[in-house]
Symmetry: C2
Subunit: 238 residues, 2 copies
């Protein structure tokens, strides 16, 4: 009767492990990233603090897992939104990606802070942690968006001649070159700029700076993304 490769014990274990993350999310959503403590999680789960150590060796391990999960969820949302727009409409795809980023951030402000802001007091990310994977995935997606517009974009962007492959992280480059043969290094620089452009207003909004000055952050963001699309030689969707 043991058709499953995982034993019942393993399944329970995985379930508890997932519940820990779920609770951690809720705590984070309620009280910010610094509300994530093993004791609070245990309290919320009706467990004892010590029991968590059967699942995560240390608090930072849990945080690392959390960051990775959150980041992955963001990237997957963006990719899904992009793929819902036909590839023949590169401007629409950029807009979809950008809007998803903002909407995801507004729906998961604490997740955004966890990934893009100070993670948690006292937390030190491990070297080349699992978040790196999501980061590269995000960068790959953005590079794809840029490549789709490259023919029109390149002449509009002087100063892109000054980049070489050595200017970028080796792991990222290997990944990108495999994905996009013939990719010019300048396109990666442009992708990073696109990233920064999407990030700026969203970060300001999430941290409360934008909304203190305007009641229409969505319109401002929308205009900014339209201008971004235009700067790539594309026609922004109406």
């Amino acid at each position: 009767m043991n058709r499953q490769t995982t034993s019942r014990r393993d399944r329970l274990r995985a379930q508890t492990s997932a519940e820990i993350k779920t609770i951690a999310f809720q705590l984070m959503a309620a009280g910010g990233p610094d509300a994530i403590s093993l004791r609070a999680i245990a309290r919320e789960m009706g467990m004892t603090a010590g029991a968590i150590y059967s699942y995560y060796a240390t608090r930072d391990d849990l945080i690392t897992t959390l960051i990775s999960d959150v980041y992955t969820s963001l990237v997957e949302a963006a990719e899904a939104a992009r793929d819902a727009v036909p590839a023949a409409d590169p401007g629409g795809r950029i807009l979809a990606w950008a809007q998803t980023l903002r909407e995801w951030a507004l729906a998961n402000p604490e997740g955004f802070r966890l990934v893009y802001g100070d993670p948690v007091p006292g937390y030190r990310p491990p070297d080349g942690g699992p978040a790196k994977e999501a980061e590269q995935r995000a960068c790959t997606g953005l590079t794809g968006l840029v490549i789709a517009a490259w023919r029109q974009a390149e002449p509009l962007q002087p100063g892109l001649r000054g980049y070489a492959w050595e200017d970028f992280d080796a792991g990222l480059v290997a990944h990108l070159q495999a994905e996009f043969p013939g990719l010019p290094p300048a396109a990666v620089a442009l992708a990073l700029r696109v990233w920064g452009r999407m990030h700026g207003l969203v970060a300001l909004e999430i941290y409360g700076h934008l909304r203190a000055l305007t009641h229409e952050p969505a319109a401002v963001y929308r205009d900014e993304i339209s201008d971004l699309i235009r700067s790539l030689g594309l026609t922004p969707p109406a």
Copy 2:
């Protein structure tokens, strides 16, 4: 012999108060914003924790003062850099402002985090705190930059018709209208977008995301600002 309006006691008091802030800065620079604790400050000053309460009623009061000071120093640096470029060169002024923002942030990463990121665990900003003033001052500076380019910029920016004064914070609007008579509301929206554009790459760099992917963040940022200047119908400085 009491020629001074401030008594000796007041001067000493102000000096100690300033030293508290200085130490707080050093702690923040060394260990991040969450290293700011009254006990640590007192320890570093050779005082007792309780003594601080003669100067700041509560920890959050100190943090609030700190944020205000840091923000003001940033805005003043940006204004100074702007004023060092002749008003006849609006593109150069934008570049100066942008470069100063990035350089200031790199020199004061913890200050940047304090102002633009999660301040400190457990800190709740007071309603309409003194940081608001610095924020409005920054926005005023950016609006000035945009206004200087408005003639060329406006035709390049469709979609700017949809803004009204009600879309923005009343206090900010009053301030801006006094400073720039005849200011169109759309220029404020554009200024916010310029802000976001400068902020994005800097935030990513400060939080370690950009440098994980490229070794040339300065070049990327420079290109981005050049494109920003171009999008306002100006010619970026060589």
